[in-house]
Symmetry: C2
Subunit: 408 residues, 2 copies
């Protein structure tokens, strides 16, 4: 992609209202634009990152055999009345049609997925089963801040599982979802900490996947011996670790990137989602739900991987692999290299603009693509280019015909 | 995918409220579920089709160099007041936050894309430029009916282009967008007719891409000599074709799958989107907008390609390429074939359920996957399978080791 023709402009001006690191760098870097508090537009560069995050999540969901679905955002009011959440869920957006209908704007989808499952789940033979979707959610948050970390409109993957017994749910939760989630976060470059949290009214505990960052909105406690972690909301000081028996807790700030929940029969009872068991009896289906905030994960990645100059993307979610910079006098050679990188199937952003080297370097640091390749009259003299990793200080000269090898 | 484990149940019951063909077959076939009038949930089978449609659209948009963006669905009320459409667009959903904000729920995105472009387009050097998105739209339609053809919530691709002159817009419109659109519809299996339609208040004409179907909601007139087409709304009887001068119009019913529009300066003037031209003067940016209803296209495909038993998907958007059916006594051989087809990278839905052959055939006709492969004790005797194209009457016996060749 030639930068001169790309729908991208970086900005030297810090966003006025939001001082969180992800908002600053993503807005200045031309990834996103703030439309209003908690609502962002994704420009081409940002959409590429979001799609890479979501592709990783999708691949791992498909690997565990969940079917991808797509539920609407307009929900019938009746469904939310059935569960009693129409009047009690404070972040629920309500939409009045002129044609005397009333809708909830989906903040989560238990109220739709449960009745939907009735058409598919009738017998124990239909269980276990799981479906997921990746889509936009809406929450009428009192305060939406911290860039992509807390939005009124945001992207989320939500998985729902259906089981014949609590034992089967527990097994799916621990041996299917937890490993899949840890794999997803690892692929995103994030070390996620599996953390006990409040289970609300359905269950003793839920679990969160927390990433340690200074700007995190959650306080968690990690056992230094066995690495068990608890959210502050379920933590009692001076209590032994329920896992290893020690009491060496370390307090830290973290940001939640996923949470998983045993719903048990909470929603299946509301919607009368039952199955016929082997003995012929009707039983409520046991359910679990499992979320990952994909746009939030994008924000957390920036909070975690940056320096004072800009973002340092992990390769797996970087918008491009190479940022190719031509300096004045080497345009022809840079253009040739761009073509040959494209032909090798490498994702390249090519800064072909007629601006100063300093401006190109500053933009490249801000945008944070993993490899910077500089073609200048000086490097061409040596039939070379300069390659610098965004995550490292030094650079090296590499012969033009060895570039592909040196990127392995 | 093994059908016994797939989140899929077909239904023998016709939907009560909607008699349109696409609604009947897509609901009975387990592709979609009607949540309420004009609002559908996509089950795994339906989501696969929708994703294939959208992948084709995305590929052709990328081919013409448009950048993919993702704009929010919550729009500031102020933006719609700026264009005067807050009070006049009758299908606009309005959302009141408890926190004293008010939003429009995006039915289209000129009100967001135009101010967004201000950060990127400043000079004639930034033009022409184009961005697109594929996402959910919301319209408070008085009557939502005809399955996926007219929804209150639906999927759409919208492309926006920005130009320095009306001439450049006209060129982009005719030589970039029209060919790209015709290519997209061709890939979707649809013969789209480029049709003159009303330009509303901005422009003399807009253009629609219409597909002839009996259940179409539009009346169009096609010149039998030169194939020029006009929507009834801009058609005057007994008038010569503006293209070839003849008067041999044929009237037909059609359904719109795309429409394209010269916005000229309508929105750039509202939002003061200007560029500095080569002579240093400030001028309003000239804009075009170009839509394709992706979920509607899925519905139109079903309206076009079906028989009395069910859907007949074009290969390009079929949820799977092969529907493999095992009949009783041939389970082992079917299982082996399933594995070998999967290993060859072929998309297979494998009906491994322990039900009658007749029930499998009926489901297979309803679901409409292009190739049906039947493995029965009888075919195995001849080391063969039976292959039947959904679009043809006859079937043929093919040796098991020649299946892959015969599918080319």
């Amino acid at each position: 992609m030639k930068q001169s023709q790309y729908f991208l402009k970086t900005s030297k001006t810090k966003p006025a209202e939001d001082v969180s690191i992800n908002a600053v760098f993503l807005e200045q870097g031309g990834y996103v634009q703030k439309v209003m508090a908690g609502v962002y537009a994704y420009l081409p560069l940002g959409q590429r990152v979001l799609q890479k995050v979501e592709k990783i999540v999708r691949e791992e969901m498909n690997t565990i055999g969940a079917g991808e679905i797509f539920l609407p955002s307009l929900h019938p009011k009746a469904n939310w009345e059935t569960t009693g959440r129409w009047g009690t869920l404070d972040i629920l957006f309500k939409v009045k049609s002129q044609h005397s209908y009333e809708y909830a704007l989906g903040p989560t989808h238990e109220e739709l997925v449960t009745p939907m499952a009735q058409a598919v789940i009738q017998s124990y033979k239909d269980l276990p089963s799981a479906v997921y979707q990746i889509q936009t959610k809406f929450r009428d948050e009192a305060r939406a801040k911290s860039g992509l970390l807390r939005g009124r409109e945001f992207r989320m993957k939500d998985l729902y599982s259906f089981h014949a017994s609590s034992q089967d749910l527990a097994k799916y939760y621990e041996t299917v979802v937890v490993p899949a989630y840890l794999k997803i976060f690892e692929r995103l470059g994030l070390k996620a900490i599996y953390t006990e949290a409040s289970g609300g009214s359905f269950s003793k505990f839920s679990h969160e996947f927390q990433v340690e960052i200074e700007s995190g909105e959650d306080t968690i406690y990690i056992c230094d011996k066995c690495k068990m972690a608890k959210n502050k909301e379920v933590f009692s000081e001076d209590v032994e670790c329920t896992n290893c028996g020690k009491t060496s807790w370390r307090q830290t700030m973290a940001s939640e990137v996923g949470n998983i929940f045993k719903l048990e029969t909470k929603f299946s009872e509301s919607f009368n989602l039952q199955f016929t068991d082997q003995d012929g009896s009707k039983k409520p289906v046991i359910m679990g739900c499992y979320g990952i905030g994909t746009s939030r994960a994008m924000g957390v990645i920036v909070e975690k991987f940056h320096d004072e100059k800009g973002i340092i993307w992990p390769e797996s979610v970087a918008p491009f692999r190479i940022h190719l910079l031509s300096l004045r006098g080497a345009e022809k050679e840079a253009e040739d290299l761009y073509e040959s990188l494209l032909n090798s199937g490498i994702e390249v952003l090519y800064d072909d603009r007629d601006i100063s080297a300093g401006a190109k370097f500053a933009d490249s640091d801000l945008i944070g693509i993993p490899y910077r390749v500089i073609v200048s009259p000086k490097t061409i003299e040596q039939e070379s280019v300069e390659i610098k990793k965004r995550s490292e200080q030094g650079s090296k000269l590499v012969k033009i015909d060895e570039i592909l090898n040196s990127l392995q």
